[in-house]
């Protein structure tokens, strides 16, 4: 199971805003796919997955604030459950 998370990339770890989900729960995803778009205090950023599998539940709604470091969804390998 891969956790897709908001990376803490700046010196200060502020919340980000989840702008858009590009994949839905149950979708088959491939490594490198953009799962969601987030907005930091400086820019917008794509969050990609590193493995292929089935996307789990959206853990945050569009336009909600997400703390840096938090998992927004998981990618499940065959047979895995959330």
């Amino acid at each position: 199971m891969e956790e897709v998370f908001v990376p803490a990339v700046g010196m200060a770890m502020d919340n980000v805003v989840l702008l858009e989900w590009l994949k839905n729960p149950g979708d088959q995803v491939t490594a490198g796919d953009v799962i969601a778009i987030i907005e930091t205090d400086k820019t917008t950023m794509d969050l990609t997955c590193e493995t292929s599998g089935t996307l789990g539940a959206h853990r945050y709604a569009i336009n909600s604030e997400v703390p840096a470091g938090q998992t927004i969804a998981v990618v499940l390998a065959p047979g895995e459950s959330e």
């Binding site: 998370f5 990376p7 803490a8 990339v9 700046g10 010196m11 770890m13 703390p67 840096a68 470091g69 938090q70």
Partner: protein, 327 residues
């Protein structure tokens, strides 16, 4: 030359420990566990371990913003380093400094710092003290390829030469000053030649060969102890990750990184040499990798479980005590 088996194994283990520490800390930083950013030294292990293995524990070092590898090689336990990255009270700087301010003055570690090119000046100051007090030890100042384009570095080199100070200057030359390739910003494009212009022995060496780094440092240390003054060493190395964790890194190609990793990796090279010489078995090597991983796991656990500094201690260490703020 055949490597001494005991030294070789300890040296290899140190490099593995640093590599695992950095790769682990990188992931934890992305997860928001390391406030204030962090600079990953993965790829540069041989410079740190080669230098430190040639020093005496009482020798002094002063380093840079990228200092985890120097600090671990200098002998600071990894749990204390990790706790400082987490800004926990059990860290070497009491959780005040995080990644960039690792220090242990009593054990000769005069600190990392966030000022480009500051390390050589700090070490030079220590070398003045060593000479004045007549101690039989040396100081080592680390600087990066960006820092060699700062005036303060060369002021310190010059002073070390004219006073014949027991100083070793190590350029931990990972070839990129943040996003800028060294050749684009280095007039004359020969850092060792620039050093030689100040009138001291000056060398460019293979910083991915831990034994070469060790040998040159040992010779420099012997010269310094003999009263012959400082030595300048430009060690060519490479960092595998971005300048800071989370950097996008669009200023160099993935092929370039892969080439350094696959052909010149200091750990792969040295482990292969030890195995081919019979100083290390494949089973020993795997056991070593596992034991290092366990040590880092324990360090993360220690850092996670350690408390943050108590807020009532916030003024501790702020002044010398004269103003009454510090205890």
């Amino acid at each position: 030359m055949t490597t001494d088996s005991k030294w070789g194994k300890e040296t290899l283990r140190q490099m593995l420990l640093i590599r695992n520490f950095e790769e682990t800390a990188d992931k934890l930083t992305l997860r928001g566990k390391v406030p204030g950013g962090m600079h990953n030294s993965s790829g540069q292990e041989a410079v740190a371990v080669g230098v430190m293995s040639a020093l005496d524990p009482k020798d002094v070092i002063a380093t840079t913003h990228r200092s985890h590898h120097h600090t671990i090689a200098k002998g600071m336990p990894v749990n204390i380093v990790m706790a400082e990255l987490f800004t926990k009270a059990t860290g070497c700087s009491g959780g005040r400094g995080a990644s960039m301010h690792l220090a242990d003055v009593e054990n000769g570690h005069f600190g990392g710092n966030g000022i480009v090119g500051a390390g050589v000046g700090i070490a030079m100051g220590a070398a003045v003290g060593i000479k004045q007090m007549g101690h039989k030890k040396v100081a080592v100042g680390f600087v990066g390829d960006g820092g060699v384009n700062t005036g303060r570095t060369w002021e310190a080199v010059n002073m070390a030469v004219i006073y014949k100070l027991p100083l070793i200057i190590i350029v931990d030359n990972n070839q990129y000053a943040v996003e800028t390739f060294v050749e684009r910003v280095t007039g004359g494009n020969d850092i060792a030649k620039r050093g030689a212009g100040f009138g001291l022995p000056s060398f460019t060496i293979d910083g991915q060969d831990v034994e070469e780094v060790h040998k040159y440092t040992l010779e420099a240390r012997n010269r310094a102890l003999a009263g012959e003054g400082p030595t300048f060493i430009n060690a060519l190395t490479y960092r595998y990750y971005g300048h800071n964790v989370g950097e996008k890194g669009q200023y160099r190609t993935q092929e370039e990184i892969a080439d350094w990793r696959s052909h010149r990796d200091p750990i792969d090279r040295f482990s292969a040499k030890l195995i081919s010489e019979g100083a290390l078995t494949q089973a020993d090597y795997e056991a070593m990798i596992n034991s290092v991983a366990k040590e880092i796991e324990e360090a993360v656990d220690f850092a996670e479980k350690s408390p943050l500094p108590d807020v009532s201690t916030i003024l501790d260490g702020v002044d010398s005590g004269l103003l009454g703020a510090s205890k």
